[in-house]
């Protein structure tokens, strides 16, 4: 928009001299007002964009290292006296025998061999704490997989503890006074010594994407939560989609226009704006209190989220159905189709892309929802990956909430990494919805 210029001719019939200095100043003021408005508007938009970039950048910067994990290579002597002999044992019996072995002992031996100067019970314990408490299980799996190692000394890579991991990643400030940090100078010295030998590696942490929750940050994984989210959304989709689409068909195609359908319509619009936590209270009172369903199960979570997404699906399905031109209905009626056949054979298939788009967006919202699920007990510490809709489970956003509450420093990057996983799914779903809309949208 260009500034307003004074008129070319000097005077018009109002008798006002538009080119007088006062008028010029006035015009200037008005133009400044306009530019100010424009600037404030531009600032508002940029500020929103800045918030988004800052938010996502902040999460990505914190979370990127959550996909990596520090391991320490140590030379473990697979002592044949301690470990069972694989030659005269069945596979399962061997595995069971290995599970009995105190792997912590092997680890301690390996570490004290490397640091012979460390003596004393307390320092040795410190030394073994360089490694994660999951290192034992790792070592056990290595032995079970490679029985031929027994009797030899082999260099294996084991998970470092979360504190060490944070130091290696540079997330913990080690320059502060020794009394104010968790790791002592001695431990940092060991770490440095191991690093100088190239024994400290940072690798992609596949465990993070494949396992369930844990108390130890270096052992946690999002897969349990992802599976829980998947099962929950499955229940939501299977209940909310048919009911929502049926309701939309009825309201658009069959409902008589009367007071009652007006009420239904107002009611649906209001329901869409009810705070999500209220749906959680409803789920708690009805599904858990009245029906006595199992707490923490994806079944209850899915049903609660179905109540929440139903209005969204109905509203979007209605607008998709309303967008199908009446000529389609008239043509089908003219060929002898019954109203039900018109709806199910012609209108709904044509409206399906729109309905699908609305449903996917509704599902994406349900995926990001956590407040109602806190009400129905999906906020539990669950290690196992849920396998059915009746198993106790948690969902991705609630997992994020749980981790965000954990005090360990290392959980910050794990939480951020889990957020990145959640955002990945959300972007995929929304991208799918946009793709569907663009591919199948038609202008009648």
């Amino acid at each position: 928009m260009t500034d307003y210029q004074p008129f070319e001719h000097e005077q018009d019939d109002t008798g006002v001299d538009w080119n007088s200095p006062e008028m010029q100043a006035r015009l200037h003021r008005r133009n400044i007002g306009d530019r100010f408005f424009r600037f404030v508007g531009f600032f508002a938009v940029t500020a929103s964009a800045f918030f988004l970039v800052f938010l996502l950048g902040n999460i990505a910067q914190k979370g990127a290292s959550g996909f990596l994990q520090t391991s320490i290579e140590i030379d473990v002597a697979f002592d044949a006296d301690i470990l069972p002999d694989p030659t005269n044992l069945e596979k399962d019996a061997f595995a069971a025998a290995v599970a009995q072995v105190n792997m912590q002992y092997l680890i301690r031996q390996a570490l004290t061999n490397r640091f012979p100067e460390v003596t004393g019970r307390r320092d040795t314990t410190r030394l073994t704490r360089l490694l994660s408490s999951g290192a034992r299980a790792q070592l056990r799996d290595i032995v079970i997989k490679n029985p031929e190692l027994i009797g030899t000394t082999h260099r294996v890579s084991l998970l470092a503890s979360d504190e060490i991991d944070q130091v290696v990643k540079g997330n913990t400030d080690v320059s502060v006074d020794e009394a104010n940090r968790k790791l002592t100078d001695m431990e940092l010295g060991w770490l440095q010594s191991l690093e100088s030998e190239g024994r400290v590696t940072k690798d992609l942490h596949t465990r993070f994407l494949t396992s369930g929750d844990s108390r130890e940050p270096e052992l946690v994984g999002v897969w349990g939560a992802v599976a829980g989210s998947g099962l929950t959304l499955l229940v939501t989709l299977l209940t909310a989609f048919p009911i929502g689409v049926f309701a939309a068909i009825y309201l658009e195609e069959f409902a008589p226009k009367n007071r009652f359908t007006d009420i239904v319509e107002i009611n649906i619009n209001n329901l869409a704006a009810v705070p999500s936590i209220v749906f959680g209270l409803l789920g708690l009172a009805v599904f858990l209190g009245l029906m006595g369903m199992a707490r923490s199960a994806p079944l209850v979570g899915g049903l609660t989220l179905a109540l929440l997404t139903l209005p969204t699906i109905i509203i979007s399905a209605r607008s998709a159905i309303a967008a199908v031109p009446p000529s389609i209905r008239d043509a089908a009626r003219g060929l002898g189709a019954s109203p039900m056949q018109v709806a199910f054979h012609h209108v709904v298939p044509l409206a399906m892309p729109g309905i699908m788009t609305g449903t996917i967006i509704g599902m994406a919202r349900a995926l990001g929802e956590s407040a109602p699920l806190l009400m129905i007990g999906m906020v539990a510490f669950i290690v196992d990956v849920p396998a059915s809709i009746n198993d106790p489970a948690t969902v991705l956003p609630v997992q994020i909430f749980i981790w965000a509450d954990s005090p360990e420093r290392a959980f910050i990057e794990k939480t951020s990494a889990a957020i990145m996983v959640l955002l990945f799914f959300l972007i995929t779903m929304n991208g799918l919805a946009i793709w569907l809309r663009q591919k199948f949208e038609r202008n009648w």
């Binding site: 100010f36 929103s48 988004l52 999460i59 704006a273 990001g368």
Partner: protein
């Protein structure tokens, strides 16, 4: 044998009914399907619905009431001495029994409770079998009925469509049922709460500390349920959020509709949509871990004492979350103003800014006001940001640098973890939920009716 098996079996039976009746209708007319009033598949659909719907109804009834029935049976069959011990705390007993029934025998040592749990499992398994038999029975009746109807003159399509119409109508009434369910469960539990705590104490009391005595003789555990500090905290955080989201959202809408080029719009709109699509738990994490420490250190630098869970941090981040909400609704309201009004103003020599302030905004005012009301309702009901970034301690203050708590935070705090269903502490969450529901409902109804009225003025 589980409930889902019943579902699968009913579905299989319905499929069989479909295939059978379809064939039968063809067979009845000796393959000359033109002699049938309805196509063979409609005979099949009709039969399938007659089998499926009654069977599902039985299953749903069992799912909804099964555990309750079994529990009542257990309670009436309890040994007398146990029933006497738990005379007035029967819920506690049921909880213990349920815990064993669900999690195995490891959690309990009391013999009679273990026995009751075993009986629970046994009765429940029997109930499932009974449901299966019963749903099959009603399915079979439907099947026989449909089978007797297969004749050339039977209007299978019309009958099928009548039933289907009923199914469609039921689906849409379910939306009403949800609202009724919300209202009923909130009011029901709230009434139980207000029997223990007077309603005026709840609405006007200034002290919120929802600890109730576990034993009657316990001292210093008298809970007080004055919700005013929670309402005040909710109001403060919502106000802060609106101070951010209101101007930013409105000016973004003005800029995007009046000044921005098509290219800017194509970039800015998706940005706002993404901002709206970010889950609230992410905002909460951001508020708690980035914004709050930032404010705290900035405050310390300025010599101000900022709480680590300050209302300001939660309010600001909530405001960011609501920006897209305000901007898209205001955008709609501004775009809905007839183009002729805007052109007329510009033609009279007004600058764009003058057109906006003197013509567009007054004309779009009802729409913008309703956008703000809906945004406030969003802010009041928002949970995760405040749960993660606002405090837990009730605090009656107007200072945004202090920590306050909100209605939603307290609901979450009261209801997470195990709880008994009839203590005042648990029930107070429902009273808070009712207050929240009523407040947002009033805001929504007001906002939506305003939009509706406004539309009528220009169309």
């Amino acid at each position: 044998m589980t409930n889902s098996t019943i579902l699968v079996l009913i579905a299989l039976m319905a499929m069989f009914a479909f295939a059978f009746m379809r064939q039968k209708s063809v067979a009845v007319v000796g393959g000359a399907t033109e002699a049938l009033h309805s196509l063979p598949r409609y005979h099949g659909y009709f039969a399938a619905l007659l089998v499926l719907l009654p069977g599902l109804l039985v299953l749903v009834l069992w799912l909804a009431t099964g555990k309750m029935i079994v529990e009542n049976l257990i309670v009436s069959g309890l040994p007398d001495e146990l029933a006497a011990v738990y005379a007035d705390r029967i819920d506690l007993l049921i909880n213990r029994i349920r815990l064993v029934a669900e999690n195995g025998t490891g959690v309990e040592s009391d013999e009679s409770i273990l026995a009751a749990a075993a009986r629970f499992n046994q009765l429940y398994a029997r109930g499932i079998i009974a449901t299966l038999v019963f749903s099959f029975a009603v399915g079979a009746i439907g099947f026989v009925h449909a089978s007797s109807k297969v004749e050339p003159d039977f209007r299978a399509r019309n009958s099928f469509e009548r039933i289907l119409n009923g199914v469609l109508a039921t689906s849409s009434f379910l939306a009403i049922a949800i609202t009724l369910g919300i209202v009923a469960s909130l009011i029901f539990e709230s009434i139980r709460f207000f029997q223990q705590v007077p309603i005026e104490d709840f609405l006007f009391g200034l002290k919120w500390s929802p600890q109730t005595a576990l034993r009657a003789d316990q001292v210093a555990a008298e809970g007080s349920f004055g919700a005013v500090p929670l309402f005040a905290g909710t109001f403060l955080i919502s106000l802060l959020a609106m101070l951010v989201a209101g101007p930013v959202g409105l000016f973004a809408a003005i800029y995007l509709t009046q000044y921005a080029s098509q290219r800017t719009r194509n970039i800015a709109k998706p940005v706002l949509e993404i901002l709206a699509g970010v889950p609230t738990v992410v905002y909460g994490f951001f508020a708690a871990l980035t914004v709050a420490p930032l404010f705290r250190s900035t405050g310390a630098w300025l010599g101000l004492d900022v709480a680590s869970e300050s209302a300001l941090a939660a309010g600001l981040v909530m405001g960011i979350m609501i920006i897209p909400f305000v901007s898209s609704l205001s955008d709609d309201a501004i775009t809905a103003v007839p183009e002729s009004l805007k052109r007329g103003s510009l033609a009279l020599g007004a600058t764009t800014a003058e057109t906006i302030t003197k013509v567009l905004l007054p004309a779009a005012l009802p729409g913008i006001a309703s956008a703000f009301l809906l945004a406030i309702s969003r802010a009041v009901g928002e949970t995760m940001i405040v749960v993660m970034a606002a405090g837990m301690r009730p605090n009656l203050t107007a200072n945004p640098l202090e920590a306050v708590t909100t209605v939603t935070v307290q609901i979450v705090a009261l209801l997470t973890g195990d709880q008994e269903f009839d203590s005042a502490k648990t029930l107070s969450a429902f009273a808070l939920g009712l207050a929240l529901f009523v407040l947002t409902l009033v805001l929504n109804v007001f906002a939506l009716s305003m939009v509706r009225k406004y539309r009528e003025a220009y169309d």
